[in-house]
Amino acid sequence: MPKSEIVAARGIADSIVFHGPLSELYRLAKEGKIPTSLQGSHTRPCKFWTASKILSGIRNSILLTHGPSGCAFGVKQAYKLTNSRNSAAPYEPVVSTNLKQGEIIYGGERELRSAILEVDAKYKPAIIFVATSCATGIIGDNVDAVATKIAPEINARIMPIHCEGFAGEYRSGFDLVFREITKLMDVPTEASKAELAGYVNIVGAKMGPERTEVDTDVKELVRLIEGVGGKVHAVIAGNCSLEELRRAPSAAVNCALCLDLGYAIGSAMRDAFGTPLNSTILPYGIAATERWILGAAQYIGKTAEAKALMQREYEEIKDEYEQVLSHLVGKTAIIEGHDAIKSLSIAHMLERDFNMRAIVYNFHPWSAEARETSIDYLLETGLDPEILITKGTLALGKYESMQQTEAELLELLGNLNPMETVYFGSSLSFPNIPLVDLNAILNRPRFGYRGALKVAKCIKTSLDYAFRPRSEMSKRIVFPKNSGLVSVQSLTGKLAQDVPDCTMYAGQRRKGTCLMS
């Protein structure tokens, strides 16, 4: 199907905001010729939340939030309880100085000092992270001075994290913590490097320990590293210890888990300590996986072993993989683009490994700006996928499952042959073509050779059952009549706790204005 057909023939030209290659979208975003503001309904947690999420991945640390108790309670319920539920982690506290009106008026430094002493005494952590909140940021408590002064009096290390919710976009919390924790790291010595010569770090992880009962992507990467004869020193910050962090720069290489966040800490460590960085796109599919493995192996002197592993891994899946692949070649995939880096990585896999045509649908222009580093990298590697954006993406609402984008999607798809086109996206969308939802918990791992086979089989299964219409019941649940702006993200209490949602925000950032505006 020629590019022009998919738009013109379906009669939705009026709904199209952009259709072209990623490089073109990127250029328009840079020149301010396409709106890049993220509308409020595409909400994100604040800087405090995202900073807390990374910090939740550091073992034997205590997060002491300086402010009223609500901020601590929120992140504890969202992140720590999830760690306990999914990963069998023990109960994890998030402590608060629990400021009240009096401290807001007279200052909370004394409270903070006393709280630090108490936390050190009662939890005996390796490190205390003091996270500032909006309230203490505004009243101007000198957290740095308190921390510096009290450091000799306590057993734990102490590190202030200035992550007031108003102090930046949600993404800035990730970047801040990844930058700050490099200060906990030791400069490598020849001896320490020799000791960790065969080790890699996986960087850019967040939140906590891996799920024990699920074949997660991180576990798959660890298995591959071990398969070439290497070892993983630390997953940063996914259940790593302070000691592991301290020694992390001595590892032979940092391998990015998430291209974007992995690059943030990987480049910081490279700049500060010279630790090499293996930053590739997410290892979806065989081509990307091989690039990731070889990128790691060269730094641990295991290139030959890596090539042998690659052959072994492929041999293990070969028969089934090639059989399934024969059903996929030449087909078209429309990939929901709300998770920017993931959608581009999937497009890479489909084009390079499965010989399919990939169209990334509703890749938000905000991502073209926010994911600059990653997109630069992708374009440099020759990946320039087709992007199609409709008006609904820029409207209020949650675009992966809101009425407008759904209607536009259906219009776009028209009467496409369900045997020729698949949709990669959320099961909460209801296109009239086979749908592949890679976020479903059963579809793990998605990385590596096993992942490539898993994804290929997911597509094949969707095609095999293309004759079954989507459940009317599910559709009614997700798209009630007169639901207006809102999304299904808050369909259940548990889902809603993951992110703030259904919220309309004001005053979006405009090109040329201050990031903090």
Binding site: G40, T43, R44, P45, C46, K47, W49, G67, P68, S69, G70, A72, F73, G74, K76, Q77, L81, S84, R85, P90, P93, S96, T97, N98, K100, E103, I104, S114, A115, E118, A121, K122, Y123, C134, A135, I138, F166, G168, Y170, P480, N482, G484, V486, S487, V488, S490, L491, G493, A496, Q497, V499, P500, D501, C502, T503, M504, A506, G507, M516, S517
Partner: protein, 447 residues
């Protein structure tokens, strides 16, 4: 006299198990129909507001929240204009009858004049604008719920005529750790109906502003919690002459508490015969069900030493059921809130029972852990938090009954009343079985 625990190193650091005032305010507002919220705050506070809506299990069609998304320059320069624009936009978009304009910590501290802005903007918007200051530093969840109720009180209009006979307002059913608390509300309405009493207004659960405005016509208020709401009740008495009933009784949890509560209700509304009928039927239901399905609970639970870690409402209600009806020994009571009224009701209840378990109010995660670790307990009644804490400190059984729970509820389960007791015992029985199931079967020993 309560035997209260003392904890070291807990004066300045707190590992909260309840949210802040903003969540409390949101938990109240979410119960009112046809409203929207404009939140004057950084974006993260939207997640706290979402928790309030979660507690009502509002689906996504019922959440109309906008946020000014304050950043640093807004904090320095003020953001009234941003707020004004968003109010106008939200009014045009959501078209609700009432819009709560809620300032959180940031707006509260920098002194945004939300009242003035709402006043000046009111002629230009369709919704009635209600300004609220809800900075998290104003207190915990329960304090926030009190702030919310105080705001709703301003909607209540004077009622000049005689009170409507046989009508009651039900207050704060959502201040409950029952994950499906609306089932308790339904049970309460059901027994009121059986006694010929009409539920006039629920403060607030799925209630309209019009219903709230007429709340002063009711002949009584019933508080469905021991954790908050007392100020609201007093003001309803003082300003609107609506008396409070039953507030000194444990809530209807377990056989005896339920019968006491029903009898008191029946007496007040001259429906004692109906109350006795409800009691007879209910007790027969519990007895026959347990005779058929729960006989094992008698030897199983007898003299088990247990802790309850919950809010005041559940703790006070559970004590008698555990002690008298299940013959357990409540050895440790850990209460998340800290109201003097709850202390008084619990003190009286323990005196009547003749027991003096160790007690702590206003507990946090650390205190719960310390208290469990320093006790010789067989089981804990609590939430998912207590489940993990119990695992860690070596307490064999944890009953995951309360919020936040790991349990998935697809059907609403009351904890109030007779069926409520069976519902709780069903969870307790299943958790008990799971706790004692072998984790390591050594097949070779059978070979």
């Amino acid at each position: 006299m309560l035997d209260e625990l003392v904890f070291q190193d807990c004066t300045h650091s707190h590992d909260p198990v309840v949210g802040c005032a903003l969540e409390g305010v949101s938990n109240i507002i979410a119960g009112v129909r046809d409203i929207s919220i404009v939140l004057h705050s950084p974006q993260g506070c939207a997640s706290t507001v979402a928790l309030g809506f979660d507690n009502h299990e509002c689906d996504f069609t019922q959440r109309k929240v906008a946020c000014t998304r304050l950043f640093e320059t807004d904090i320095i320069m003020g953001a009234s204009e941003k707020l004004r624009d968003l109010i106008l936009k939200a009014d045009a978009t959501y078209k609700t009858k009432v819009m709560f304009v809620v300032g959180t910590c940031s707006a509260d501290i920098i002194g945004e004049d939300i009242e003035g802005l709402c006043r000046s903007l009111q002629p230009r918007v369709g919704a009635r604008l209600i300004p609220m200051h809800s900075g998290g530093f104003r207190g915990d969840l329960y304090a926030g719920m009190d702030i919310g109720l105080r705001t709703l009180l301003s909607f209540v209009q004077p009622w000049d005529g005689p009170k409507l006979p046989r009508t009651v307002n039900l207050i704060a059913p959502q201040a409950s750790l029952n994950p499906t608390w609306w089932a308790d509300l339904k049970w309460t309405k059901g027994v009121l109906t059986a006694m010929g009493v009409e539920t006039h207004c629920v403060f607030p659960s799925d209630v309209s502003i019009e219903e709230i405005s007429l709340a002063s016509a009711a002949s009584a208020n019933i508080l469905l919690t021991h954790d908050m709401g007392y100020t609201f009740l007093r003001e309803m008495e003082d300003k609107h002459d609506v008396p409070t009933i039953l507030s000194d009784l444990p809530l209807p949890i377990g056989l005896k508490n339920t019968s006491n509560w029903l009898r008191a209700l029946g007496e007040y509304f001259d429906a004692s015969a109906v109350a006795e009928q409800l009691i007879e039927t209910g007790e027969a239901l519990v007895t026959s069900t347990l005779r058929r399905r729960g006989l094992m609970i008698i030897p199983r639970y007898r003299n088990a030493k247990v802790a309850v870690s919950a809010d005041a409402s559940m703790t006070i209600g559970l004590v008698r059921m555990l002690f008298e009806e299940l013959e357990m020994i409540p050895d440790l009571l850990l209460v998340r809130s800290n109201s003097k009224q709850a202390r008084s009701v619990l003190d009286a209840e323990l005196s009547r029972l003749g027991i003096s378990p160790r007690v702590a109010f206003g507990v946090d995660g650390y205190k719960v852990k310390q208290a469990l670790a320093s006790s010789d307990l067989d089981a804990v009644f609590g939430s998912a938090w207590e489940k993990y804490l119990a695992e860690e400190v070596g307490t064999k059984v944890a009953f995951d009954l309360l919020q936040p729970t790991n349990r998935t509820f697809y059907r609403d389960s009351a904890y109030f009343g007779y069926e409520g007791m069976i519902n709780m015992l069903e969870i307790v029985a299943n958790d008990w079985e799971a706790a004692f199931r072998s984790k390591e079967i050594r097949w070779e020993q059978y070979q």
